[in-house]
């Protein structure tokens, strides 16, 4: 596929997923937690589009509702990490000197610790709900953003137009936002996109391990977690659909990121 077409295609895929999950309550005829013990393990068919699970809950409703949870957690965490990353990287890059050195060494120290370990530790004493989950992923996910913002700010600080603006007495906030942050947007956007994919992945992994979103709230990771036993008795549909959704969503985000990373497009984004 040509890059432009690929971009449109994957954006459409991601868009459909987002719209489907956002409209979860309109699209599904069953509540995500409605149990019906007369209809357990019903295979996909007319009444239940994607079948039911071991408590007779409709997989399709849970899939949409779970997507809403997963995507919300990922979005909130990404926004949080974006804010922290821009602030941290921006200060480090703009101030420079000793401040920059100290901040970067600290960041490198954090990067060496696998974020999963930090998240596990946090989860242990925060008894994670959905929002605390987003918070935790957010405050562990800003490291790469901060690095990118820092390098962009260092590059732009020496740009001639910034010097011109400084010389003509442009207020500092205008330089920071109008000149520096604005011109870093393409790079920040792409790294945030990949962060988003990463955040989905972390939410899914944690929930799959049973330490993420509480079991009462459906999420794609939770669904996979409960599907482990179901697969053994042949109820493949309970695990397959969340798996496919996770796979397609992360794939779409990655492909969008790759397409935007293409340097030929750079100017159009700018």
């Amino acid at each position: 596929m040509r890059p432009q077409k690929a971009l449109t295609f994957w954006c459409a895929v991601l868009g459909i997923i987002v719209i489907l999950t956002a409209c979860a309550s309109f699209l599904s005829s069953y509540g995500p937690n409605d149990m019906n013990l007369d209809e357990v393990y019903v295979s996909p068919g007319e009444d239940h589009l994607l079948g039911t699970d071991h408590l007779g809950r409709d997989v399709f409703s849970r899939l949409l509702e779970g997507g809403k949870v997963t995507l919300t957690v990922a979005s909130v965490s990404v926004l949080l990490s974006l804010v922290i990353g821009i602030l941290y990287g921006g200060i480090s890059g703009y101030v420079g000197g000793a401040v920059d050195t100290v901040m970067m060494r600290f960041l490198e120290a954090l990067i060496t610790i696998p974020s999963l370990i930090i998240i596990l530790a946090f989860q242990a004493f925060m008894q994670g709900g959905m929002w605390s989950m987003a918070l935790i992923i957010g405050i562990t996910g800003w490291l790469v953003t901060a690095r990118i913002v820092r390098s962009e700010f260092i590059r732009l600080k020496d740009a001639e137009f910034v010097k011109m603006a400084t010389m003509f007495g442009t207020p500092i906030w205008k330089i920071l936002f109008g000149h520096m942050l604005r011109n870093s947007v393409p790079a920040i956007f792409i790294v945030t996109l990949f962060n988003f994919a990463g955040a989905i992945f972390i939410e899914v992994s944690l929930s799959f391990l049973g330490i993420g979103v509480p079991p009462a709230i459906p999420s794609w990771g939770n669904m996979l977690y409960y599907a482990q036993n179901d697969i053994l008795i042949g109820a493949w549909w309970i695990g397959l659909f969340p798996g496919v959704m996770i796979f397609v969503t992360i794939l779409a985000i990655n492909f969008i990121g790759e397409a935007l990373k293409n340097p030929e497009r750079r100017r159009l984004d700018a």
């Binding site: 000149h179 604005r182 100017r267």
Partner: protein
């Protein structure tokens, strides 16, 4: 207009400019010429108060009765805002590539003189017209314009602001010959029409011969010769100036 007296610039103990003294007379085009690394641009940075961190300037540079080397940052800001205008080497990088020209031209001109956006539009349109630029460029982004057009936009801002002193740091080195000539013509017109004093930094003798009234020759951080362009071209005194003149095509 601008009298520089024993200006020295030091970076980390290394002498970049050594006790240079020269004078920029009002209403004239004065050119600083010299090879790369002769301290031309550093001199300009010192005058504008934008020396890189770690650099230290000593001496005096009196502009409109104020010593530019010793004034506070705030005062320097005022002077730069009200009396000076600078054009840098690479116009393409002097504009923020993600902002439309209209906002940037306003930032560089109208906002400095305190004009409203409407006043600015009227006045800028006339200036752009005069410079042979279509009024549509204000709705475009800098990367959609050529280097020559952007440099002309810079001149447009200078025409708008009517600064006392225009400092142009190698404004033509990124342009081809035809555009260079055109640009120099514009500088001359600015000088003749508005009486703007221009300090033109260059390494190109032809430009000096074409545009400047006075010239300052710099070499390895020192001013080796100053004087009227005609006189210096006819009777160069310093051996370096002689060599420079001989190396012309």
């Amino acid at each position: 207009m601008l009298k520089v007296d024993h200006l020295s610039i030091e970076i980390g103990g290394k002498q970049i400019v050594d006790k240079s003294s020269f004078f920029v007379p009002r209403g004239k085009i004065t050119s600083i010429i010299g090879e790369s690394g002769s301290g031309k641009s550093m001199t300009v940075s010192a005058l504008l108060g934008i020396l890189p961190p770690g650099a230290k300037a000593t001496g005096k540079a009196v502009f409109n009765g104020k010593n530019l080397i010793a004034v506070s940052d705030k005062e320097m800001g005022e002077i730069r805002k009200a009396h000076l205008f600078t054009i840098f080497q690479d116009a393409a990088n002097s504009f923020n590539s993600s902002v439309k020209m209209r906002h940037q031209l306003y930032e560089f001109s109208g906002r400095r003189t305190g004009d409203s956006s409407q006043q600015f539009q009227m006045k800028m349109k006339a200036i752009l017209d005069e410079l042979g630029l279509s009024a549509e460029i204000v709705e475009q982004y800098p990367f959609e314009l050529s280097g020559g057009m952007l440099q002309r936009c810079m001149i447009a801002c200078a025409l708008y602001v009517e600064p006392d002193l225009l400092i142009a740091d190698e404004p033509t080195s990124a342009l081809d010959m035809v555009l260079q000539q055109e640009f120099i013509g514009l500088l001359k017109r600015l000088n003749e029409k508005q009486g703007t004093t221009i300090l033109l930094i260059t390494h190109d003798l032809d430009i000096v011969a074409e545009a400047a009234h006075e010239m300052i020759v710099m070499r390895q951080g020192e001013v080796v010769e100053t004087g009227n362009v005609m006189t210096v071209f006819e009777r160069p005194e310093h051996p370096y100036t002689r060599r420079l003149l001989e190396s012309r095509f």
